[in-house]
C-alpha cells in the first residue's frame, strides 16, 4: 500500500513539474494575474482536470442529525462538482486510508496528495440552536497547502442538500469562473400519483406539475387540479411556473410556487384557448399559442395578460415558441411547408427564416448565452432524438441516438446541459439530463411517467 502511494506521489510531483513548465505565463499581465492567484486557483493537470476530494464533513455536535448532515453534504457536494465535469472527482470509497481531519484547517494534506488529490474540500457541521446548523467549508490546495476559498453558512437543518448545492456553485464560480446549476430546479409533468382525471370520460390519468432539484431530489408537487397539465415553464426569476392547464379547455395558468397563488393571465374560455407559454427573458411578457383567431397562432401578452398582440399569421399551425436570450427574436414550430419545422422570427413579427430541414421537428429551446444555439426534438425513425443547431454556422449536432424517443429539450441556466424526456430503458417516460456535448447522461426521475422538463434559472 505504501509503495503504491510512493509511486502516486512521484507521479504527482512529476506531473506538477511538467505542469509548471507548460503553464509559463507569456505576458506581464498574465504573470501578474497568475502570481496573485497561484495559491488560490487549483490548476489543471496535464492529464486532465484538477482532482478534488470531498471527505465527510466534521460533525462538531453530538446529535445524530449533525452526523447525517456531515456525510450527506459531502456526498451531494461530490455529485454536484462531478456534474459540471470541471473537476475530476476522487471517488469517495477510496478515502478509507486517509486519517480524519483534526479540525477544519488541520487535515492530512500529504495523505490527500498521495491519493492523487489536487484539492480537498474540508467542511464542518455544527448545531447552533433549535433545528439550525452552521456549515463551514474550506477548499485546500493540496500542493501549496493553502486554503484557497472559504465559506460559512447558517440555516435550517431540514434540507441539508442545499448547503452542498450552494457550496458547489460557489466553488465553480471561484475556481472556474463558471455559473454552476446546483441550486437550480427542474419542473416537469408527471402521472406519478396515479390519479384519474375528473370528468365524463373514464380511465384518463392526470398529469400534474412537479419540480425537483436539478439532480432529481427534493420533489415538490405544484398542481392539485386532478386534470391534465402540460409544458411547465419557469419564469426568469425562478419563482413562478407558467403551464398549460385543461380546465377543461386549454388555458395558461401561472403558479407563484412559493406563495401558493394561481393566476390566469390571458383568461381563456371554451372559445378562446391558450397553450404552450414561454416567458420573455426579462419576465415581463409571455408568448403562447392560441386559437382566438380560428386556428393555432402565436401571441405575445404582458405578464398581467394585457396588450395581447399577434406574432404569426399563417393558415398553418404555429406553436411551441421560445425566446432568444436577448428577447429580440423567437423560435417556434410551424407546419407551413408540410411537416413541422423550426423557424425564427423577430419579436416584432419580421425577419422570418426557416432553421430546420428535417422530417418532423418540435419544441425548440433557445440556449442561454454564451452559446447561440437551439435544441429541438427531431424525428429520426420510430422516435425522436435531441438535436442542436448552431445559429452561427447552421451546423446540426445530435445529442441522443435512437434509444427510445427523446423529446422536449430544456437548457440548464448555464447552457452546458439539456434536460429532456426519454423512453429509453424501462419504457416509461423519464427526465434525463445530458451535456450539450452529448456526454454525462443521467436520469433524474424514476416514478411513473415524467416529461416536458423546464430547467429553472
Amino acid at each position: 500500500m505504501i509503495s503504491r502511494f510512493r509511486i502516486l506521489f512521484l507521479i504527482s510531483i512529476f506531473t506538477s513539474a511538467v505542469f509548471l513548465v507548460a503553464q509559463q505565463p507569456d505576458t506581464p499581465s498574465d504573470l501578474e494575474r497568475q502570481q496573485s492567484e497561484v495559491e488560490l486557483i487549483i490548476g489543471d493537470r496535464i492529464d486532465g482536470q484538477p482532482r478534488i476530494a470531498t471527505p465527510d464533513c466534521l460533525a462538531l455536535s453530538p446529535e445524530p442529525e449533525v452526523a447525517g448532515a456531515a456525510q450527506a453534504i459531502a456526498e451531494v457536494l461530490w455529485a454536484d462538482l462531478d456534474f459540471e465535469r470541471e473537476f475530476r472527482m476522487v471517488a469517495r470509497d477510496t478515502y478509507d486510508s486517509i486519517p480524519t481531519a483534526r479540525s477544519l484547517i488541520d487535515l492530512p494534506l500529504d495523505d490527500w496528495r498521495e491519493l492523487g488529490a489536487d484539492g480537498v474540500v474540508s467542511c464542518s457541521v455544527e448545531s447552533i440552536s433549535n433545528n439550525r446548523i452552521r456549515v463551514t467549508a474550506r477548499l485546500f490546495n493540496v500542493r501549496s497547502m493553502a486554503s484557497s476559498f472559504g465559506v460559512e453558512y447558517l440555516g435550517a437543518a431540514t434540507n441539508v442538500r442545499i448547503y452542498a448545492h450552494q457550496l458547489s456553485d460557489e466553488i465553480h464560480r471561484h475556481q472556474r469562473g463558471l455559473r454552476g446549476v446546483a441550486r437550480s430546479k427542474i419542473a416537469y409533468v408527471s402521472d406519478r400519483d396515479s390519479e384519474s382525471v375528473l370528468g365524463l370520460v373514464e380511465d384518463r390519468s392526470t398529469k400534474e406539475v412537479y419540480f425537483s432539484d436539478y439532480d432529481g431530489a427534493n420533489v415538490k408537487r405544484v398542481t392539485i387540479s386532478r386534470a391534465l397539465n402540460n409544458n411547465p415553464a419557469w419564469s426568469p426569476d425562478g419563482r413562478s411556473i407558467a403551464y398549460t392547464a385543461w380546465r377543461p379547455f386549454m388555458d395558461i395558468l401561472v403558479s407563484h410556487v412559493y406563495q401558493g397563488r394561481l393566476e390566469s393571465p390571458v383568461e381563456g374560455d371554451s372559445d378562446t384557448q391558450n397553450w404552450l407559454p414561454a416567458w420573455s427573458p426579462d419576465g415581463s411578457q409571455l408568448v403562447f399559442t392560441s386559437n382566438r383567431d380560428g386556428q393555432p397562432e402565436l401571441y405575445i401578452a404582458n405578464g398581467d395578460g394585457s396588450g395581447i398582440t399577434r406574432l404569426t399569421d399563417h393558415p398553418a399551425i404555429d406553436t411551441s415558441p421560445t425566446w432568444s436570450p436577448q428577447g429580440h427574436q423567437l423560435a417556434f414550430v410551424s407546419d407551413r411547408t408540410g411537416a413541422p419545422q423550426v423557424y425564427v422570427i423577430g419579436a416584432d413579427g419580421t425577419g422570418l427564416r426557416r432553421i430546420t430541414f428535417e422530417s418532423h421537428c418540435d419544441r425548440p429551446t433557445w440556449s442561454p448565452a454564451p452559446y447561440n444555439e437551439i435544441a429541438y426534438s427531431s424525428q429520426t425513425g420510430a422516435g425522436h432524438d435531441i438535436k442542436v443547431v448552431d445559429l452561427a454556422t447552421n451546423e446540426v449536432r445530435q445529442l441522443t441516438y435512437g434509444l427510445g424517443t427523446n423529446e422536449s429539450p430544456s437548457y440548464s441556466p448555464n447552457g452546458r446541459h439539456v434536460a429532456f424526456s426519454s423512453t429509453r430503458g424501462a419504457g416509461n417516460k423519464q427526465i434525463w439530463v445530458i451535456g450539450r456535448d452529448g456526454r454525462g447522461l443521467r436520469r433524474i426521475t424514476g416514478v411513473g411517467n415524467n416529461e416536458m422538463p423546464s430547467w429553472s434559472p
Binding site: L200, V201, E202, R204, K207, L228, N230, N231, T244, W246, P248, F249, M250, S270, D271, Q273, W275, L276, T289, N291, G294, Q295, P296, I317, D318, T319, S320, V333, D335, A339, P340, H360, D362, R363, S377, Q379, A382, H384, E407, S408, E451, M452
Partner: protein
C-alpha cells in the same frame, strides 16, 4: 330464542343444529337392523317459522288474472329518448351515441367517411336538441406532444365547423385538443395509430 316443540317428542328448547344432532343420535341408536333412510326417524323438526312480514311482502301483487282468450294487441313502441334521459352523463358517454371520426396522418382534413359519420351525428344532435357537446381532437403516438396539441386543436375545430355548417348551433359545441395525451389504443401499430387520430365526442350537457 324459543323454538316450536318437536313432533313426537317431549317439548324442549334447542337450537336448530342441536336438534339435528339429537335426531342423528336417535337414528344411530335405532340403526341396528335397518338404515336411517329406510325408516323415518321418530322425531322430525318442524320447518323454521317464516321471517317476519315486511312491507315488501305486503305489496306482493295479486295473483295474475286468467289468460285472455284472444291474443293481446302488440305493445306500443316506447320512445328510447325517455330511457336515455334518465341516465347519467357518464353512462350516456359510455354508450357513445355520437361516433368518432378518424383522420389521416398529420392531417386535419375530413375524410369522406368522416363526413358521413358527422352527418349521422348531426341528425342525432338535432333529435336531442338540448345536448351540449365537446369535440376532443386527438392524435396518434407519433410526433411530439407539443406540436400535436396544435394538430388536435385543428381536428377539433374542423369537425366543429362542419357540424355548424350542418346546422348545429355553435353555442352547443365546445372544442378541446388533447394532442397525444389520451390515446384510445396505446399500441405502436398502424391500426392503433389510425384509431388514435380522431375527433371524439363527449356529451357534456343535456
Amino acid at each position: 330464542m324459543q323454538l316450536p316443540p318437536l313432533t313426537g317428542g317431549r317439548e324442549m328448547a334447542c337450537s336448530e343444529f342441536s336438534c339435528w344432532v339429537r335426531m342423528a343420535a336417535i337414528c344411530l341408536a335405532s340403526a341396528v337392523a335397518m338404515a336411517c333412510a329406510g325408516n323415518p326417524a321418530p322425531v322430525e323438526p318442524e320447518p323454521p317459522s317464516p321471517p317476519p312480514e315486511t312491507n315488501q311482502a305486503a305489496t306482493t301483487p295479486p295473483a295474475a288474472p286468467p289468460p285472455p282468450t284472444a291474443p293481446p294487441p302488440a305493445p306500443p313502441i316506447i320512445e328510447e329518448e325517455g330511457e336515455i334521459s334518465t341516465r347519467s352523463l357518464e353512462e350516456l358517454n359510455r354508450e357513445a351515441p355520437l361516433q368518432p371520426i378518424f383522420f389521416d396522418y398529420d392531417s386535419s382534413d375530413l375524410t369522406p367517411q368522416g363526413q358521413t359519420i358527422l352527418q349521422a351525428n348531426a341528425e342525432i344532435l338535432s333529435e336531442y336538441s338540448t345536448w351540449v357537446i365537446t369535440i376532443e381532437g386527438h392524435c396518434d403516438q407519433r410526433g411530439s406532444p407539443e406540436y400535436n396539441l396544435g394538430l388536435g386543436e385543428r381536428r377539433a375545430l374542423v369537425t366543429e365547423e362542419y357540424l355548424i355548417a350542418l346546422g348545429l348551433d355553435s353555442i352547443r359545441v365546445n372544442t378541446v385538443s388533447y394532442g397525444k395525451e389520451f390515446p384510445f389504443d396505446p399500441d405502436d401499430t398502424e391500426d392503433a395509430h389510425a384509431r388514435n387520430r380522431r375527433a371524439h365526442f363527449v356529451i357534456t350537457g343535456r
